[in-house]
């Protein structure tokens, strides 16, 4: 082959290879960054017969990367409405000149009115859109989502980042279940179990400063304290308080580690850090009824003891026994609440299915109605094997 011909072929080869890359890396029908609004949080509300979407977008207040600081001023809120969520999304380009990019979205907050119309109705669009991050945290607001998104936070570059961290921390520290978008979609798709979402609310602000002096701004004006329960059809059905929410975490086997406070009036207050937690929920399938047994096994560190009166004899044993009772109480409270709501929030049907497929087929349609008749027995073992000190304080 002649060298010139060979050279031409090589050039052609490279041109074609480059053209392949063009088709695969986003140069086709692309939208430049300066034409996109990077959505960090989405709020979904239902009002006046349609959905209202609030977008918190990343928008530094001053040009130049060096001015991006840790403040709420880096975020702006955009609102658009539509009869459906997808229509509201489409309308969002009409209220501002940029296209919404939801690939980096961190949080979705659902307002009470939207939640009452069904979770799947509110979230279906985001499940089907390949660009949307399915790892976004899903939160529930008892008021409106736009109110939560508008709340100021002074930690992190964006308020959405703070909301995401609060939700993650609540789950990781064993307070309230931490739920991601794909988990909600999965539960809605399976159509036979309910779901618990963390409830986010604004912290009530005092209208006047107590001391009359100038105060430092609060880091956050929102908090998570409860969980909202949704039926298998995705409709809001009730609230789990703080105790019940923790109980739900034990029952869902979502508890990794947590802190427990044992309070005995006029004796002591002790703080335990449960650093290793194992839970197993197993069904007991008798001929006529189904019950469940929860086994909890924890290893704990006694991190703090405040003596407020005469100390009990064998204090470590006493703390252990009371901690075990406390965990059992939390589990029973969550169990009773789920029974009262007649909703399978703890994947009980899945446990039955794993144990006995035929029995599952028998009970799957009527299980929720008979849930309040199901008994829960617990066996909790807490072993305190770390004391946070170099000597054993009470031995």
């Amino acid at each position: 082959m002649k060298p010139i011909r060979r050279k031409r072929r090589m050039v052609l080869l490279w041109a074609l290879t480059v053209s392949l890359l063009f088709s695969c890396t986003g140069c086709l029908s692309s939208t430049p960054l300066n034409r996109q609004s990077i959505v960090q949080a989405i709020g979904i509300d239902y009002e006046n017969g349609g959905y209202t979407l609030s977008f918190q977008i990343f928008s530094p207040s001053e040009s130049g990367g060096s001015n991006i600081g840790a403040s709420a001023d880096n975020a702006k809120q955009i609102t658009s409405t539509g009869k459906t969520v997808s229509e509201a999304m489409a309308n969002s380009v009409l209220v501002q000149g940029k296209r919404m990019f939801t690939g980096q979205n961190r949080v979705i907050v659902i307002g009470k009115a939207a939640a009452e119309r069904g979770l799947l109705n509110a979230l279906d669009y985001f499940g089907g859109d390949p660009a949307t991050s399915r790892n976004a945290q899903v939160l529930f607001s008892e008021t409106t989502a736009s109110e939560i998104l508008g709340a100021k936070g002074n930690q992190g570059i964006l308020p959405a980042e703070m909301l995401e961290q609060i939700a993650e921390n609540a789950g990781q520290h064993g307070k309230i279940p931490n739920v991601k978008l794909f988990e909600v979609l999965k539960a809605a798709d399976e159509d036979d179990k309910g779901v618990l979402l963390p409830v986010i609310a604004q912290i009530p602000q005092d209208s006047e400063s107590k001391s009359g002096t100038e105060q430092i701004d609060s880091v956050s004006s929102v908090h998570l304290t409860q969980a909202a329960a949704f039926t298998k059809d995705g409709f809001f059905c009730g609230i789990f308080d703080e105790n019940e929410s923790r109980g739900a975490l034990w029952l869902l086997n979502d508890m990794d580690h947590t802190k427990l406070t044992v309070f005995v009036p006029k004796q002591y207050t002790a703080a335990l850090e449960l650093y290793e937690v194992n839970t197993t929920l197993s069904p007991i399938l008798n001929q006529d009824k189904i019950s469940f047994h929860l086994t909890v096994s924890c290893r704990a560190s006694l991190t703090e003891t405040v003596l407020t009166g005469s100390s009990a004899a064998h204090l470590t044993e006493d703390i252990t026994a009371r901690a075990q009772a406390l965990i059992a109480d939390e589990c029973n409270a969550a169990w009773a609440r789920a029974g009262a709501l007649s909703t399978d929030l703890f994947r009980l049907k899945d446990h039955i299915l794993q144990k006995d497929t035929a029995r599952y087929e028998q009970v799957k349609d009527t299980f929720d109605e008979t849930l309040s008749d199901c008994l829960l027995t617990t066996s909790v073992t807490v072993t305190i094997d770390r004391y946070g000190k170099e000597y054993l304080p009470f031995s």
């Binding site: 052609l12 392949l20 890396t25 086997n253 299915l353 794993q354």
Partner: protein, 381 residues
């Protein structure tokens, strides 16, 4: 055998990696859009059963590669039944490779136009892809096998990172047990579905003479099947334990898994995974196009005529792919009950050829005892 012929051959691990990447595309590309997907334990047991059945399909390859390692199945067919059988076999493979090329390209285009560039034109996606394929086919098997070896490790790294990232979200409670009724039927259907997607089984019958040691072809085949089975079992278990049956209802279950996994600062692993997915599609199409060209050589010996014919047919393949890309229901129809094709091409047909060759050999030995099977072992690469 001259030195040049030896240097243009590939090693058994190179063949294994090339086949694995090619097969991966059909593994990653499973979608309820293109056929029925099973879930839970049915899927896992179906994958295991399909591995066992596919191992049996390697038996004719083992026989042929050990005794007639210098010739492809088409060459063996020529020796066993004359020129007509040779051309018939070549035509059969040509048709199968055409279907596979169109299927692979349309699946690739469907993926690109539904995930990467939603609602984009499939023609725009396929033109540069196809042109590059045509050009790369000219480089030959050795060059793209070497390239495949590099991407093989990258792919394993990507898959491992996704599986590790998914572990915190995994829960074995999500894997549904076998149904009370029709469990075996479902497992068997799932196994047949897997077999129907494994066109690489019959590619092996045309590739083994290109190995440095053709006798190792069946070994490569076995390791290829084992590696694919392990990969599938691990990824399917991860998908099911993270996403449950919901995962298998997504347009692309593997993509759905990649999109929900984050690993520390790598928040969208699906972007990395997607680029390797494109590479898998490329190697699969390249392998089939290379074998398509090889089969074409059976009919036309003249180099220029062969080139003209190849490019003309390539244009047809391109338009066929564009048509299928816009009609996923046609791909779905093609996919149903096609497990019989690999069974025929990878098991029945080569076994028949082997028996015919053995009979011919025996007859030759009876007629002229000094003539051995070595006479049938001319080079045909």
């Amino acid at each position: 055998m001259n030195a040049n012929a030896r240097t243009h051959r590939i090693s058994a691990p190179q063949l294994l990696m090339l086949l694995f990447l090619s097969r991966l595309f059909s593994v990653l590309n499973i979608s309820p859009v293109f056929g029925t997907l099973y879930s839970g334990m049915t899927l896992l047991l179906g994958t295991l059963l399909s591995f066992c059945l596919q191992c049996a399909f390697l038996f004719p390859l083992w026989l042929l590669s050990r005794r007639y390692g210098g010739k492809t199945l088409i060459g063996c067919a020529g020796d066993a039944g004359g020129e007509w059988l040779k051309k018939g076999a070549a035509l059969l493979f040509l048709l199968m490779f055409s279907v596979q090329i169109c299927g692979s390209l349309s699946a690739f285009s469907f993926f690109m136009t539904s995930i990467v560039f939603p609602n984009a034109s499939s023609v725009l996606i396929l033109i540069p892809f196809f042109l590059t394929l045509i050009l790369c086919v000219r480089w030959g098997l050795e060059s793209f096998s070497r390239a495949a070896a590099i991407f093989f490790w990258l792919f394993l790294l990507s898959a491992a990172s996704i599986c590790i990232g998914a572990i915190p979200s995994a829960d074995l409670l999500n894997i549904t047990p076998l149904p009370t009724q029709g469990a075996f039927h479902n497992i068997f259907s799932a196994a047949l579905g897997e077999i129907s997607k494994n066109g690489e089984l019959y590619c092996l019958l045309l590739l083994y003479p290109s190995l440095r040691t053709p006798k190792k072809a069946a070994h490569s085949g076995f390791w290829f099947l084992l590696l694919t089975c392990v990969f599938m079992l691990v990824t399917q278990t991860v998908i099911l334990s993270v996403l449950s049956d919901f995962g298998m209802e997504q347009t692309y279950p593997y993509y759905a898994l990649a999109s929900v996994v984050d690993l520390s600062v790598l928040q969208r692993l699906d972007s990395f995974h997607m680029s390797l997915w494109i590479v898998c599609a490329f190697f699969r199409s390249l392998l089939y196009l290379f074998l398509f060209k090889k089969c074409l050589g059976t009919f036309v010996i003249k180099k220029k005529t062969r080139a003209v014919l190849f490019y003309s047919l390539a244009v047809f393949l391109f338009f066929g792919s564009v048509f299928l890309a816009d009609h996923p229901q046609a791909v779905r129809a093609l996919n149903t009950s096609t497990a019989i094709v690999p069974a025929l091409l990878a098991f029945v047909f080569p076994l028949v050829i082997f028996i015919l060759l053995k009979r011919k050999e025996k007859r030759n030995e009876t007629n002229s005892p000094q003539k051995t099977h070595g006479a049938l072992m001319g080079a045909d690469r």
